[in-house]
């Protein structure tokens, strides 16, 4: 058969393949070893012997929603300062120890949790466990180091203001939950950072890094039973603390009009535009499934998604488009973020709102939905190919307060979705009190034109460096 002929046949074949194949319900999560230690810390181990590496994710229920009142940023400073010396090692010695293992250790902060991540050589498993233990159970947190970290956090916040995009979803949360823990900036307000004391950080660490608030995920090249014994031995000394539940979810205030937040960055020739839709708590698998499918259909692959096809392929209005549905426990969020020249901001908002409206008014075709289901089936299965991606998947599930195999339930829920389900969830998600539009850019250039879409709220993005 010639290649030219096969091309034609292949085209037909691909179409048949895409339209005909049934979506399997098989599980995607590999077998894991799991245990809750006497101290209350949950441990999940996933063997992946591809390479001699260990991927560690330690989740602590110690996010910014637990910041003391008028001290936003304490959680952020605390998780970073865990690396400022631990056990017998001061900051410099600790860093040299990490580097001498060839390891990488980094931290993250979000509203609900803080996270310590590490990549180690599998021969160093015991050293890695001891190191992680020292970070959470025996950090030094000296006055001198903490004062440095508090000062440095202020610079870090200004760097985020320079970049723009990292602060956009925060503006949406601030709008939905004014004055509430969920509305706080996870990295801290510059004014409030100045008021943080080393004592605040030490108290936070004591209270929120106790073992029953910790979940440890390790994926990589090891023998699970042996490693579980080592984990139990190393973390045995950690004593239980007091349990404090996160603040209860509070429904956002109803709003008659769509709200648009302008993060004013004078002189910026380009803009970021974000659409944030507040979903149901994470435990609603059906709602989560619908939110993820909507995110995929609206803002997944640029050539295939509704917004990508319209705003990139047809009208060349935006240069980047990303959708995300973060894993968090109390609130689901569907976010669509895009960058564009500032002269396109008004068109971008109009076109995107139009697409969101269509989602809640028009049934998508069964074929499109089946394509989407197939995408997720492959996406979650491929997500366990490496130890690093496997560890991240497991950590996501645990971060949402779910079982390690949450992705299997999620896939089942995705497989049962109908076009009507999507319409209904879209109508809820994209209602005015659930949707926020955030624009980062030179507000003077487009503020007036945005009034036609809804209520415009303008904010400065923090002092400049003069």
């Amino acid at each position: 058969m010639t290649r030219a002929l096969e091309r034609v046949i292949a085209t037909v074949g691909i179409t048949a393949l895409l339209c005909g194949a049934a979506v399997s319900d098989a599980e995607v999560t590999p077998r894991v070893e799991k245990r809750t230690l006497q101290s209350g810390m949950r441990v999940v181990l996933l063997e992946n012997n591809e390479l001699p590496l260990l991927q560690i994710r330690l989740l602590a229920e110690a996010g910014s929603i637990f910041d003391p009142d008028e001290r936003s940023g304490v959680a952020a400073v605390t998780v970073k300062a865990l690396l400022a010396g631990a056990g017998e090692r001061n900051a410099v010695q600790l860093q040299r120890h990490i580097d001498s293992l060839g390891a990488t250790v980094w931290t993250e902060i979000s509203r609900e949790r803080s996270q310590i991540n590490g990549v180690f050589h599998s021969r160093d498993a015991l050293s890695a466990l001891r190191l992680i233990y020292d970070l959470v159970a025996a950090p030094q947190l000296t006055d001198a180091e903490l004062e440095n970290y508090i000062r440095r956090q202020k610079s870090a916040v200004f760097q985020l203001y320079d970049l723009g995009r990292p602060i956009m979803d925060d503006a949406a949360y601030e709008l939905f939950f004014p004055g509430l823990p969920w509305g706080r900036l996870p990295y801290g307000e510059p004014d409030e950072l100045s008021d943080i004391t080393p004592g605040d950080v030490r108290a936070f660490q004591q209270k929120y890094y106790s073992p029953e608030r910790l979940k440890l995920v390790i994926a990589g090249d090891f023998d699970s039973r042996r490693l579980m014994t080592d984990v139990a031995t190393v973390f045995m000394a950690q004593s239980r603390g007091e349990r404090e539940s996160p603040p209860a979810p509070v429904a956002p205030e109803p709003s008659e009009r769509l709200r648009i937040v302008l993060l004013d960055e004078p002189g910026s020739p380009s803009a970021w535009v974000g659409f944030y839709a507040l979903g149901a708590p994470f435990s609603s698998a059906h709602q989560q499934a619908a939110q993820r499918m909507l995110g995929h259909l609206l803002g997944g692959e640029p050539e295939l998604s509704y917004i990508g096809r319209k705003l990139i392929e047809e009208r060349s209005l935006i240069s980047r488009l990303e959708s995300a549905t973060p894993f968090q426990k109390l609130w689901g969020l569907l976010q669509l973020e895009m960058s564009c020249p500032r002269e396109n901001v008004v068109d971008v908002i109009a076109e995107t709102l139009d697409e969101l409206r269509l989602m809640s008014e028009t049934r998508i075709s069964k074929r499109e939905l089946e394509d989407g289901k197939r995408f997720f089936r492959g996406y979650y299965a491929l997500g366990f190919e490496t130890a690093g991606s496997g560890a991240t998947r497991l950590a996501e599930a645990l971060a949402g307060g779910e079982a390690h195999n949450y992705h299997d339930s999620l896939l089942q829920a995705i497989n049962t979705l109908t076009p009507d389900d999507l319409m209904k969830v879209a109508a809820d998600l994209f209602a005015n009190d659930r949707l926020a539009v955030v624009v980062y850019g030179d507000a003077d250039r487009f503020e007036r034109s945005l009034n036609e879409f809804g209520l415009v709220l303008r904010k400065r993005t923090g002092e400049r460096g003069e």
Binding site: L18, L304, S316, S339, E385
Partner: protein, 450 residues
Amino acid sequence: MTDTHLRKISATPCCVALTCCLIVGSALANEKGVVDTTLANGLTVLLLEDHSDPLVSVWLDYRAGARQESPGKTGLAKVALEVMKNGSLGYRRGEYSRLIHSGGGETESGAWHDGAFFAARLPVRSLRDVLLMEADRMEYPNITPEAVERAKTVVALDRKARLETDPYAPLVDELLRQMYTAHPYGRGAYGSPEDIASLRSDDVDEWLRTYYRPSNAVLTLVGDFKTKETLAMVDEIFGDIPDDKTPIPPVAPEPPQNGERRATTPGHVRIPVFIVGFHTVSSSDEDLIPLQLLAKILISEKSSLVYQRLVLESDVALSTGGGHVDFFDSGLIYGYAFLNRGNSLSDAEAALYEEIDRVKSGSFSDADLMIAKNQMQMQLLNQAAGSLPRAGNMSESRRVWGDGERWLKNIEAVQAVTVSQIQDVAQRYLRDGNRTVIYLEPGLTEERGQ
């Protein structure tokens, strides 16, 4: 902690690392190892079986990057890459993405300084379809005036977005512009707006005919397949694509730099930052590994001399970083520091040079070198995680060293580097006259990205 102490704790992992990594190297290469063959039309094919998952990764490299662009035609590498996404004789635009994404696979593509690539990770059942599409667009790309105009718009928007939404991006562009006065690396990978606007279908057509052909490409497959059958399939699908094997046009060399170059670029930022670069060598040069280790000892890692001095000990900087850029023709070693507000760029720069002098005079320990070696070995291991990055590394390795497995063998070469070699490369490359410095300072009111 003393140096002696560090030497003790570092020595053991390093020795073990060597053994482990050699095992890893052979495990990744499988019992059969990388199969490297060249079809009659000149297409290089690398195959590596890996049956751990029912997946395959496909990586198709073309030596068609910004380094081949002529003055006045900058941005052509990216525009041509976009046009290649417009489908081909047998496939409509978007069909490639649809095939891969509806199977849950992922795609990547890009054109950078030294080349362009299309990559995909997909269920193994779709391999034949993907190869058919790649072959079809290699031979029959759908170059229409509309496709070229759309590609120009996409590239221009992307360029604008990068420069305007990342306020620190101009720093790197300015560094390359100052460092490379003759070589195309100085013109950047994104092109100028004027050049992009003036590109025509003929330019794209000529570019694709010159560079997107079998003898200028490397096709790498890693995954769950049988080598013999897959090689036969590749030959069946790609083997009859014609190639006249005309030589690829040469690239203007960069003359040696004689004297420091400095510039301050407009900043729409709150945090001051500077970057320093020094010319080094081609990515195939034997000095490459000592230079990569030098960058780690000096500035890349958190235990590096500069990070310790400016972040951990003095709190002058919010963060520092750097590394070696392995360009095909002539690379660079660079370092940067984002300063905490209220600190002086010139003081921080002076502190960086004092640390460079320490390296040149050998005032760093064996322990520092051990740490850098361990870091580099782990970096190489991490690059091997997953079939798609592995395919990309094999392809690059084949292009640079003519050996698809050499990147893993570098783990052994890292072990052989001595303190005196680090000192030697520091003295030869980190010279004042070979230095370029760029400042980005807050408070300048010019609009960014212009």
